[in-house]
Amino acid sequence: MAVLKSDKLLSFFPENMRAEWERYGFDFNEVREVRLRVNQPVRVLCGKEIRLSMVYGERDMEEIFRYLCHDSVYAYEEERKQGYIMADGGHRIGITGELAAAENGRYIAKYIRYINIRFAHEHKRIAEGIIDYIYDAENGRPLNTLIISPPGLGKTTLLRDTIRLLSNGYKGFGGCNVGVVDERGEIAGAYRGSALLDCGERTDIITGGDKRQGISILVRTFAPRVIAIDEIGGEPDAQAIFYAGVSGCGVIATAHGGSLEDIRKKRELGGLFEKDIFKRFILLSADNALARCASIYDERGNELCGRKLLREYA
């Protein structure tokens, strides 16, 4: 039996809440985010923001959370401490509310009152427009690249497609082994360790753990030519990237920021600039119609390519 597009969306909600969602009949492929806030109308982001009539109370939020955890909340404790859980298909579900102190100075959401379901959608071939700029044809290897953008502009999507192209090969470039450290399972849409989104045929993916540990495992045992990491930010991340760089692996990473300067100013990542680790910077931005564009810079900040529309090539 064919699965209706809206069925996928329904699978995030318990049975007693499905009728209302069914009534709206959303096309799952169009939905980017569902925001649930306690005692506030539900909002769905699909190109534009849509306000729904449903309002979920405290008990409803707990019920949804429990259902999202497959009635096994204990199995998601670590993710809960990090403020999100992963769903089948690589969809990330942000959770928060009242926090309570947990061990090692960490916090855990005691009362779940806000849930943000971010759907992972695969956009293949969007990296084809940038791949020529990040590949060193002379040495036959990719250049260390940092993808920079504010949240929600598709850093991870671009990274995933870049990984796929590097892994499978593209035009004259032969494919190579790519190691992915996917802490949150977002790059590969990993669910219980298996990649559900296409990251290429020569890609090994480590889900969970931390970046340093992941890079160490990849370098020692999987001989990657390139290591891909999502959302670097702290000092340990910078150290992990430096370790990968000095181990002879290429690095492709993403970071939150609105400009190159934003990243340079980050104390934790500043060292990477001083050591000239990254040779290419891809800055993502969006126009008024929310179309995503990429600008590419070299290590000195010279623009190699002006705003280029990122699109899925037919």
Partner: protein, 162 residues
């Protein structure tokens, strides 16, 4: 005489069937507790992994629950468990006393913390152990009595007919 002996044998079988069900339920609990303790696996995966190792009807019971959970049909584990336990009870594969225990196990699932979940299951496990011990002792005595009585009843009928 054969009829009387057969009746006694059937009665003993029924008593042993309850005991068998309790023992399988205990094995099921041990699997669940261990998988939570060491692997922190979610329930759906736990049911898949131990489903094949249990004897029927519990193997199918666990697999059916896992499949329903995997289908994300909107029903909670508690609801799925309850319905499957009711089906088992109706099919007569699970005697009344064992079915009651099965419902209780279902009610003790769904705790937030792993320690809380394990403690809740251990409580049921302790009850099951006690139940198994008592029934094993009682069954031996009762089976002996039932068999003797059925043979005597058979002999009495034979004498009466002669």
């Amino acid at each position: 005489m054969t009829g009387a002996f057969g009746f006694g044998y059937a009665l003993c079988q029924e008593m042993n069937n309850v005991l068998f069900n309790f023992k399988e339920q205990k094995r099921m609990l041990l699997y669940i507790i261990n998988e939570i303790s060491f692997m922190h696996k979610p329930m759906e995966e736990i049911f898949y992994s131990f489903g094949g190792r249990l004897k029927e009807p519990y193997a199918s019971f666990a697999l059916r629950i896992a499949e329903q959970m995997a289908s994300r049909n909107g029903r909670t584990l508690c609801e799925i468990w309850h319905d499957e336990a009711r089906l088992l009870q109706k099919s007569k594969e699970c005697p009344k006393a064992a079915a009651a225990m099965l419902f209780r196990i279902g009610e003790s699932l769904g705790y937030d913390g792993d320690k809380m979940q394990i403690d809740a299951l251990r409580l049921i496990d302790a009850e099951l152990s006690e139940e198994i011990e008592n029934r094993t002792r009682e069954n031996e005595d009762k089976c002996k009595l039932v068999r003797t009585l059925s043979v005597l009843a058979g002999l009495f009928c034979v004498v009466l007919l002669i």
